[in-house]
Amino acid sequence: MLAERLRAAQVIARRDFVAVVFSKAFIFFLLGPLFPIIVGFFAGMIGASVQHDLDRAVIGIAMPAHQGDQLLAAREALIEHMPGGAPEMAVIERLRPGETFDARAALNNRQLAAVITGTIDAPVLTGTPGRVDEWRGVVGLFAARARASDAAPYPDVRTDVVKTSASHEHNGQVITAQAGQLLLFLLTMLLAGMVLSNLVEEKANKIIEVLAASIPMDALFMGKLFAMLAVSMVGIAVWSTGYGVMVLAGARSIPFLAAPAVGWPAFLGLGFAYFAMAYLLLGSMFLTIGGLANTVREVQTLSMPATMLQLIVFFMASFALARPGSWIEIVAQVFPISSPYAMLAYAAEHRGVMPHVIALAWQGLWVMAIVRGGSMLFRRTVMKSGPARSRRRTAVPA
């Protein structure tokens, strides 16, 4: 019986896989991720340009005689000890004794973000609240240095570099976990939505009745799910290869991530397995929901709540990542839809394979349960009546 179901699922999967992969639309599907990259590239360029303009805003100095220059010299002396950098400064006025300066009026100059007046003993910083709060400390520091002309040199700090620390390792693994979750989410979001419209074709082409008479409905669901999973794998393989080629061509480097607790090979293997599970879990739900839709328009309407569901699941898993050992982490690991995300993060932070074996079995069980339930629901609803012509004429099933 199981062998017959698997055989039937394989027939469906093969048909769907060939129909999708050898269609022209699949080329556009493969090119899909390029569009956000292109949009991101141009958005980044525009953003950088805007940021560059913003960054040119400087603090103007209007102080008596050479005090402004002293302040600038103090800045130069201190900046090498300030890894975060310091705001740009420029002397805009060297005031004669008794001369006054209207700092507020000077701020009409778009190049000036703030203005320092007064003296180095009593500097006055004029600017918007945000700028003033941000720079008052650093202005005080520069003024203090400018006042102490014989300031002692900073002592040389000897260093003892260790390869890693528990804190550093943990932080790195958390970042790896976040990256893994994000990638898993993006791939699932990009690919699982395809399943929504999967049964519409069969309904539109009226082949669903032949399928229902020939094979068990859960075999149909399984076949469709695995076909789309295989299509996704092709997509991921193509995108990964493309990314690899770009890296080899020197277009960009692979971002450094700390090694996960289970090690990279196991982490990648688990990532693959959890992607498959996340895909199958969401896919089986989407297939059920999409199976109830009769038209592409209905599917489009359904896609919004489906995307929201994905987002909620992802946020729950991300939230749980920041709260190890909490009840929310346990819920995220046990709740079937969020379990793949939470467990991938777990793999980044904890050693041991057995929890993953249990989690994968648990998730697999849910895949089967959803497929079973979904196919039963589909079977109950889809073959409810005869052709539309008969329904219109008689209002009872043919």
Partner: protein, 344 residues
């Protein structure tokens, strides 16, 4: 799939090995509407069996229940010896009323796919598909996509796909609808051929002529019920044979020998036509009275009731009228397809 067993009708005490399909008390409701209400059907092995009724009578729902596509709410079904029809899907061929194939598939691939669904290996399915397409005169269309075929050709491709795995039971839902007269004739031949090689053919139709010409047995279905199921001859024999009598004169003492329900049609020349059911006593006493009364018998014919008359008598006038409307509607559809308006 469900087991098809529901209260209150259970499996019969004895299971007949001669029956391909046995159904008792099938009931199906959709949203409170009873689509099929206690249907009993027994289809002998190797028979051509028709389910005759107007659209909306419950034909498709009954076939779907028999095939296991849907489960009955009540009743019992046994198909080719099992109560789980989907377990023996490889022995059944099914052509639904709403035909459908994947439009992008090539004709031979579509047939091979249907064969694969029924357990035939893909390579073997492709081989058989090419052979059968040639046999049906569609060899030139083997490499064409379904969307490039005419509606009639696509229908034939699906029919080949229904038969590709040599099923023991062939279920055809309104197989003649959408076909022109030539293809209807071919299909009739095909169905007879299937029965000749031992397959059981169950088909639904709203065209009495098809059922009358082809079927060994019929189930007449109307309003979700089956008021008659059995041999066509038995259905026809439910009505007395019809007598058509022509006499030279229209009146005389012999008229007392005519049945009370005899209808008379007097012609201009004074001759009269009489129509009535053959009396229980037979034709001899009537003839004697007509001769002795000098009625002047010009012609006398006794005709056995047709299936149409039997249908009217069994299912009622309303069902017969609906059946006629369906037939006219189908003829319009058929004419359209002859002129190739159904391309997809």
């Amino acid at each position: 799939m469900g087991n098809g067993v529901g209260a209150p009708v259970g499996p019969p005490d004895t299971v007949s090995a001669d029956l391909a399909i046995e159904a008792r008390g099938l009931v199906k409701r959709f949203d409170g509407t009873t689509a099929v209400d206690g249907v009993d059907i027994s289809v002998p092995k190797g028979a051509i069996y028709g389910v005759l009724g107007p659209n909306g009578a419950g034909k498709t729902t009954t076939l779907r229940m028999l095939l296991g596509i849907i489960d009955p709410d009540q009743g019992y079904r046994r198909v080719l010896g099992t109560e789980h029809p989907t377990d023996i899907a490889h022995r059944i061929g099914y052509l639904p009323e709403e035909r459908g194939l994947y439009p992008a598939m090539k004709a031979y691939e579509a047939i091979a796919f249907l064969a694969a669904l029924r357990g035939v290996p893909l390579a073997e399915g492709r081989r058989r598909a090419r052979v059968m397409l040639e046999e049906y005169g569609l060899g030139h269309a083997a490499e064409r996509q379904i969307r490039q075929l005419s509606k009639g050709m696509a229908q034939q491709v699906q029919l080949i796909g229904t038969l590709i795995h040599n099923p023991d039971l062939v279920v055809l839902d309104e197989p003649f609808s959408g076909l022109d007269a030539i293809n209807q004739g071919r299909l009739e031949q095909l169905i007879r051929g299937l029965a000749a090689r031992g397959a059981t053919v169950l088909f639904s139709t709203h065209v009495i002529a098809h059922a009358e010409r082809m079927c060994d047995q019929v189930a007449i279905i109307a309003g979700g019920k089956v008021p008659f199921a059995g041999p066509v001859d038995v259905a026809r024999d439910r009505l007395r044979p019809q007598v058509r009598l022509e006499t030279r004169v229209s009146d005389g003492p012999w008229r007392a020998a005519l049945p009370a329900d005899a209808r008379c049609d007097i012609k201009a020349q004074g001759t009269a036509f009489w129509y009535f059911s053959l009396p229980e006593s037979g034709v001899e006493p009537l003839l004697r009275a007509l001769i002795e009364g000098n009625a002047g018998i010009l012609s006398l014919s006794i005709e056995r009731a047709g299936l149409h008359d039997a249908f009217v008598a069994i299912a009622g006038e309303a069902a017969a009228r609906a059946l006629e409307e369906n037939r006219e509607e189908a003829e319009v559809t058929g004419r359209k397809s002859i002129f190739g308006k159904g391309r997809r």
